[in-house]
């Protein structure tokens, strides 16, 4: 009696397990198939979205290389605020470094990190800045987003040479940058982050300039050294 009961338990258990495995297998196979057919379109649309963003902050006429392929690894550092290595895109015109596109994080926004994309020309002037991601209050702090206002374009053509570091503040704090009443914390964070990115560029200029076509790893090393 007890033997047959335990036998039926074993039978029942294995049947249940096999059913579960069968469903898991079918699900995995389906996912693998869909992943395979959607991978190329996803990559293409991601690259397209990125290039469209680059176009906003760096005129297409100012470079002749493939921005997505010309990258430099940037080690985590305080000036850019990145905790993980990021990539900077290098724009090249006539075999000379024309501009660099940096990603920067501002940690002192009103809520959460503000992720910025900053294009800096070889002479240190800013070609353009865009907000990639933010969690600022809708209707208040979100005017840093170009979809809501033109504020972010205040940075166009700014540089450390044109505006001393002291002036890189919102008007309320005695600087030169406008802000909207009721939301000062957000623009304060953005101005500070752009200033720090400018300083980072100034400190690592040689690395960005050095033979842009090759020796990418050597450049990466240089950047790390200058950071230390």
């Amino acid at each position: 009696m007890s033997e047959s009961t335990s036998e039926s338990i074993v039978k029942h258990t294995s049947k249940t397990a096999i059913t579960m495995i069968a469903f898991a297998f079918i699900g995995t196979a389906l996912l693998a198939y869909v992943f395979e057919i959607t991978r190329a379109p996803i990559e293409a649309s991601e690259a397209e979205a990125r290039l469209a963003l680059f176009k906003q902050i760096l005129p297409e006429s100012s470079y002749d290389n493939n921005l997505l392929k010309q990258t430099i690894k940037i080690a985590p550092n305080e000036l850019l605020g990145n905790h993980r290595p990021t990539e900077a895109n290098i724009a090249i015109l006539d075999h000379k470094m024309a501009a660099v596109i940096l990603e920067a994080l501002a940690h002192d926004g009103y809520s959460g990190d503000i992720k910025l994309l900053i294009a800096i020309r070889a002479d240190g002037s800013i070609s353009g800045v865009r907000v990639l991601a933010h969690k600022e209050t809708p209707g208040l702090g979100d005017y840093i987003d170009v979809a809501h206002s033109q504020w972010i374009k205040l940075f166009n053509d700014e540089s450390l040479a044109k505006t001393p570091a002291k002036q890189w503040q919102v008007k309320k704090d005695g600087g030169k940058f406008d802000y909207m009443v009721g939301a000062t914390i957000t623009p304060r964070a953005v101005v500070k982050a752009v200033l720090k990115a400018e300083q980072y560029f100034a400190m690592n200029k040689e690395a960005f300039f050095a033979k842009p076509e090759n020796a990418i790893s050597a450049q990466a090393e240089l950047i790390q050294k200058s950071k230390d």
Binding site: K15, T16, L30, S45, E46, A49, G139
Partner: protein, 227 residues
């Protein structure tokens, strides 16, 4: 047979509406309805997942031992959601940027599992698919309506962001007020609760009025009851 389909439709859209009657899946209802387009898009994605989940669980319902019913259902739902997530990412990339973080959340939206458990596990395939789709559509209507209200009050726009879904050709359907700057509260989380509360109240009001009307009309329709 037709009666079943009619009943399923009425249940999904009105009587058992997930958004304002069953109050299941409140997390996306409250979180994504900052605009009509966001609400409708997530509602549509949920309706598709529910139809697909019900449709794929129903034919295999007799093969699944009851002990592992829930894990198998969750597995099916998670697979379908991931497939839809990847498809939207590949073929409607800008929309994915807007809805991206909410699509995986459909998996944990209890309304999907609830319909699979309570309907698809007991009924044949076609009614199950219809049930999933109608329950999802009921949710979509609530999400769209709530989104539209919050958008109009909060930002003074109608259908903003429609071009992200249908491309630049949809721009003529979008409307934005030029001199209204919006009541911020409507877009912030409290606006979601206030808006949903109003919708529930309106639905209850209509329901109570209909019942009262039916009671008044009943003697007229059935004169024999007058005695």
């Amino acid at each position: 047979m037709n009666n079943i389909y009619k009943e399923i439709t009425i249940n999904g859209l009105w009587k058992q509406n997930t958004g304002v009657v069953q109050l299941l899946g409140l997390c996306p209802t409250l979180a994504v309805t900052t605009s009509a387009v966001n609400g409708l898009s997530l509602g549509l994605a949920t309706a598709l997942v529910m139809a697909a989940a019900n449709g794929s669980v129903s034919p295999v319902r007799k093969l699944v031992p009851s002990e592992i019913r829930v894990p198998v259902f969750i597995l099916v739902i998670a697979t379908l959601v991931t497939v839809i997530d990847m498809s939207i990412n590949a073929f409607a990339h800008p929309l994915h940027k807007v809805l991206g973080i909410f699509i995986p959340l459909i998996v944990v939206n209890c309304i999907v599992l609830a319909r699979v458990e309570s309907f698809a596990a007991k009924n044949t395939t076609v009614p199950s698919m219809l049930d999933g789709f109608m329950m999802g559509s009921g949710l979509m209507l609530v999400l769209g309506l709530l989104g539209a209200i919050r958008e109009l009050v909060g930002k003074g726009t109608i259908l903003s962001g429609l071009d992200l879904v249908f491309g630049p050709s949809a721009i003529p359907f979008m409307w934005a007020s030029t001199d209204y700057h919006g009541l911020l509260l409507a877009v912030l989380p409290p606006g979601a609760f206030l808006g949903l509360g109003s919708l529930i109240a309106i639905r209850n009001w209509i329901e109570i009025r209909n019942t009262a009307k039916a009671k008044i009309l009943a003697p007229v329709l059935n004169p024999s009851l007058n005695h």
